[in-house]
């Protein structure tokens, strides 16, 4: 245990993630600075300048270019890294599909932030939830330590010969990127042992020319999409395996696809993603001491969507309340609609209600969680509102 805690330091979340990226030894890093991601790539740039990290760091004119650079770098066989957020992720959209379609195992930290308009630099998860269909895997983390650990795990999952799919490690902007907390920084040697060098199945090489992402007409296009779909389903097993393997080496485990907290006997179960989980766990501890049977399911892997694991974890709940920092304008929100879809053809008929909360950086407090639990309690007798904006300030409307 002493060895495992030897590297514990109080650092900023962004530094901790940059340090984790350094331990993954990327050949190429390309990024464009954008709040609240800036400190991550600033730290990496410093590490390269200091000679601590032997990577090509490419500064570019936009996020579109940043990810385009990595298409080339990854196709040439280089381990590739970027980080972005919000408008930057939106600008990358076209390239996101190319990276996943070419099956390039790029890893990217998304420092989750709201999208404009109206302009807002604070945290919510609209950016990455909005990118749920781009073919990337998505892991959402609860705290800085998990962000560090998930970044190392991400390369191992992405580069697996059966998966070969890029990953976004999504961490709440400011709340996790700018917080200082005690973090066990990764040990370089242990990380190297855990994550060996990338072995690409084919590379761009003038001596042996290949085309990546070649034209596919209607007679083959469907099959390429099917292959990507299958690879994501295989990742359901791989994510859990890698999480367990990580636990064996580093002694930390956060659940693979999801984590359950007081779910066994819970009547009301909250389902959510990201850093709000800490607050919810505190709220649950308090409610449990009052005898309220409330539990939590934390969704770590949003893509692939762990439908089967969620059905298993939630089968005994009397009511499910989904809390998420995104909204699908015109149809509820991402997680709640996916969860309902996962349940529809099963024999589980638990009422599911959804809440958009914490949009544009509004705090989600313990009081808010109590409000959600009260609404969930009421929904047991019949759903009044299937989806609502939590804490809506009607007085300014």
């Amino acid at each position: 245990m002493s060895k495992k805690t030897a590297n514990m330091k109080v650092v900023e979340g962004s530094y901790a993630v940059a340090h984790a990226v350094m331990c993954c030894r990327p050949d190429v890093i390309s990024a464009y600075p954008i709040t609240p991601q800036t400190h991550i790539v600033e730290n990496l740039s410093q590490m390269v300048a200091n000679g601590e990290l032997d990577s090509e760091f490419l500064t570019v004119d936009s996020e579109f270019s940043a990810l385009s650079v990595l298409v080339g770098a990854s196709a040439c066989g280089g381990r590739s890294y970027s980080s972005t957020t919000s408008q930057g992720l939106a600008l990358m959209n076209e390239v996101l599909y190319n990276v996943s379609g070419m099956r390039l195992p790029v890893v990217m930290n998304v420092a989750n932030r709201a999208l404009g308009a109206p302009l807002n630099i604070w945290n919510d998860q609209q950016d990455s939830i909005g990118a749920r269909d781009v073919g990337w895997l998505q892991i959402y983390v609860e705290n800085v330590q998990e962000a560090v650990d998930a970044t190392l795990q991400a390369y191992k999952i992405a580069e697996d010969a059966q998966i070969r799919t890029p990953i976004m490690v999504c961490m709440d902007g400011f709340i996790l990127t700018h917080v200082y907390e005690p973090v066990e920084l990764l040990d370089k040697e242990m990380a190297k042992e855990f994550l060996p060098a990338y072995q690409p199945p084919a590379i761009l090489d003038p001596a042996n020319p290949k085309t990546f992402g070649a034209f596919a007409d209607p007679s083959t296009y469907t099959e390429f999409r099917y292959q990507q779909f299958e690879a994501q389903l295989k990742a359901l097993t791989k994510i859990e395996l890698v999480a367990r393997e990580f636990e064996e080496t580093f002694g930390r485990y956060y659940g693979g696809l999801l984590e359950s907290y007081f779910v066994e006997d819970a009547e009301i179960v909250i389902v959510t993603l990201g850093s709000v989980i800490g607050t919810i766990k505190d709220a649950i501890d308090a409610m449990r001491s009052e005898g309220k049977k409330v539990g939590l399911v934390k969704v770590r892997s949003y893509r692939p969507f762990p439908a089967q694991a969620l059905r298993k974890a939630l089968k005994d709940a009397s009511v499910i309340a989904v809390v998420e920092k995104d909204v699908t304008i015109g149809c509820e929100a991402g997680l709640v609609t996916d969860l309902k879809a996962a349940f529809y053809n099963s024999n589980i008929r638990t009422p599911i209600i959804g809440f958009a909360a914490g949009l544009g950086g509004r705090d989600i407090t313990v009081k808010d969680i109590s409000k959600i639990v009260a609404k969930a309690e009421a929904a047991r007798k019949g759903i009044e509102s299937e989806f609502e904006f939590l804490d809506l300030r009607t007085e300014i409307l």
């Binding site: 099956r103 596919a216 083959t220 292959q227």
Partner: protein, 85 residues
């Protein structure tokens, strides 16, 4: 032939995609009017017009029938004709 993940292929893969099936109008060359200026060959966006025994001819496996050659021909020696099968 089995596909490779990521649409990974060897060079010259576009040769396998015969885009001629996309065509509605086919260019018909009047060899009497042709002055061999080669503008049709230069402008063809598919690069599918070539010389055979001194005559310019389109490769109908790849010609999409876009009419650029007919538009560029200074002698109006190329006519686009509705192709019915």
């Amino acid at each position: 032939m089995a596909i490779k993940a990521g649409s990974l292929v060897d060079p010259c893969s576009t040769r396998m995609t015969k885009t001629g099936a996309w065509r509605t109008f086919v260019p018909v060359f009047d060899q009497e009017k042709c002055i061999k200026c080669s503008l049709c060959e230069i402008y063809c966006p598919e690069g599918c017009i070539h010389q055979e025994e001194g005559r310019f001819v389109p490769d109908l496996d790849y010609c999409k029938g876009c009419s650029v050659c007919a538009n560029e021909c200074p002698r109006m020696a190329i006519t686009m004709v509705l192709e019915e099968k």
